[in-house]
Symmetry: C2
Subunit: 280 residues, 2 copies
C-alpha cells in the first residue's frame, strides 16, 4: 500500500455530502447516507442542510465563499439513498449571493432551503457578543456522557451517534435516563468522530446535531422540525464546538428552539432557531 | 351618507395587502403601496411578508388558519406598484401546511418566502415563557417619542411612519437624535394608526416594523435584510403590541437581530430573527 493512502480517504462528512453535477444544469446528484440517520431512520436535518449547502456553494461557483445564512423548510422526511438537489441562483452579488436548493426524491420536494453565500473571516466581532455557555471541560463531560448514555431508557442509539462525539454537560444528563429536569436546555461539546475539523459547512450540521431540547422538558415522541434557520458567523478554530440548545416556548402544538455554537476559543461561530411540532 | 359607511372602508393594512387571483392558477395579483415604503422608497420588509402571507393562506384555502412560521429571503428590493405573487403548496397537512410564495416583478423574484400555515389559539403556553420587556406605559413612551421624533437628525420621516404609531421607550430615544447609546436594543409600543386591531397576519408586519436595532449601535447607512424568519405563536389580544428589537453580534459585515413581540396582556405572540448586511 502506498504511504499516502490515508490522504485519499475522505472524511465521512465530506464523503456523505458529496454533490455531483446532474443530468440538468443546476441539478446535483447526491446520496443520502445511512450513517446520518436518526432513531426513526430518517436523515438528520442538519446533515441535509449541509448537503444542500454544498450544492448551493457549487451552484454559485464561488468555492472560497460559504453559506452564512440558511432557512430550511422540511416538507417531508426523505429516505436514504439517491436524491437530486435542484439549485437556482436567485442573486449573484459581490457581497452576498442567494441560492435556492430543493432536495427532490420521486419528483417531490422534501426539503426546501434558501441560502446566502458570502465571505467569512475568523476576525473577532466588530460589536456585540453572546458569551459562551458555562460548562465543565470536554473530558469531564465526556466521562459523564458515557455513563449517562449507557442508561438511556427506551431509545436505541441511532446511527448518527457513531458519526459524532457528543459530550453532554453532566447537569443535563437526566433526560438520558428518562427524567427530564424541566429546564429545556441541553449543553454539550461536539466533535466529528473521525476527527474531521469543523468548517463553515460542517457548522450547518452542528446546529441541529443534538436531540430536541424539549427532551429536557418532557420525553415526548419525535419533535419534527418544520422550519430551521441557521447563521454561520465566523470560520471556526480547531477543536471541539460548545453548543447550547434550548427550548423557549411551547404553545399551540409548536415549540421554538434556539442553538448557539462557539468554537474551542469561545468565539460564537453559528446560531440557529427552529420551529417544530410537539405533542406534550 | 348612510350610517354604515365606515363598515365599507377597509383598514389600510387590509387594503394594502389585498391579493386577487391572477391569470395563472396559484398566481395572485397585488399592488405594493407607497404608504408602506421606508426612507429609501422601498416597501418595508414586514409589509411584504404580510402580503405574501395573505397569498399563502389563500393558496392553501384554509382561511381559518394562519401563517405560524415564515422564512423570507430578500433578493432585491421591489418597487411600488403592481406585482405578482407566485404560490406553490409544498404540503397540505392536517396539523400544518407549507407554502412557497415568491414576489415577482418584471419576471424576477424579489422576495422568496416559505411559510407554515396552521391553527392558532389564544391559550397560554403549555411550557416556557419569554417575559415581556420592561418599559414605561404607552402614554409615557408616546409623549417622549413625539419630542424625540421632532429632533431626528438627517433622516426624513418615511411614509411608513404615518401607517403606524410607534411609541419608543424614552431610554432608547437617543438614536433619534443621532447619538446611539451603544446598547443595540430598541423597545417600543406599536399600534396601527387607523386603529386596526392586531391579528396573526399583521404580526408578520410588526416583527419588522421598527428601524434597525443597530441604529442604537451606530448611525450607519441602511441595513438591508438578507433573510428574515418569523414565528407567530398566538392570537393577539386587543391593544398595542410591546416590541423588543435587538442586535446581537456584528461580524464580517453581517448582523443578526432578534425581535420579541408581546400583546397588551404581556403574552408572547411573535418572534423573529434576521440576518442583515451592515457597514460600520
Amino acid at each position: 500500500m502506498p504511504d499516502d493512502t490515508t490522504d485519499d480517504v475522505p472524511w465521512l462528512f465530506d464523503d456523505a455530502t458529496t454533490v455531483r453535477p446532474g443530468a440538468v444544469e443546476g441539478d446535483w446528484d447526491v446520496d443520502l447516507r445511512d450513517e446520518f440517520t436518526i432513531v426513526n431512520g430518517h436523515p438528520n436535518g442538519g446533515y441535509l442542510l449541509a448537503l444542500l449547502g454544498r450544492a448551493a456553494v457549487a451552484a454559485v461557483g464561488q468555492e472560497d465563499r460559504h453559506v452564512v445564512g440558511a432557512t430550511a423548510t422540511y416538507v417531508s422526511p426523505p429516505t436514504t439513498g439517491p436524491a437530486v438537489v435542484r439549485t437556482e441562483v436567485l442573486r449573484r452579488g459581490r457581497t452576498a449571493s442567494q441560492v435556492r436548493a430543493a432536495l427532490v426524491q420521486d419528483d417531490k420536494v422534501t426539503v426546501d432551503v434558501v441560502m446566502t453565500v458570502a465571505a467569512l473571516s475568523a476576525d473577532p466581532p466588530a460589536w456585540g457578543e453572546i458569551a459562551p455557555v458555562e460548562m465543565p471541560d470536554e473530558a469531564t463531560c465526556r466521562a459523564d456522557s458515557r455513563t449517562g448514555r449507557s442508561a438511556i431508557v427506551g431509545l436505541p442509539e441511532p446511527p448518527l451517534a457513531k458519526v459524532m462525539r457528543v459530550s453532554f454537560d453532566p447537569e443535563v444528563l437526566s433526560f438520558l435516563s428518562g427524567e427530564p429536569s424541566g429546564r429545556g436546555e441541553l449543553r454539550a461539546w461536539l466533535s466529528l468522530a473521525d476527527g474531521r475539523p469543523w468548517d463553515p459547512l460542517a457548522l450547518l450540521f452542528a446546529v441541529d446535531a443534538l436531540p430536541p431540547a424539549t427532551f429536557e422538558v418532557a420525553m415526548t415522541g419525535w419533535v419534527p422540525t418544520l422550519s430551521l434557520t441557521a447563521y454561520v458567523r465566523a470560520l471556526p478554530a480547531p477543536g471541539p464546538l460548545r453548543i447550547r440548545f434550548r427550548a423557549n416556548v411551547i404553545a399551540g402544538g409548536f415549540v421554538d428552539e434556539t442553538a448557539d455554537v462557539w468554537d474551542a476559543t469561545g468565539r460564537l461561530v453559528a446560531q440557529s432557531t427552529q420551529l417544530a411540532a410537539i405533542r406534550l
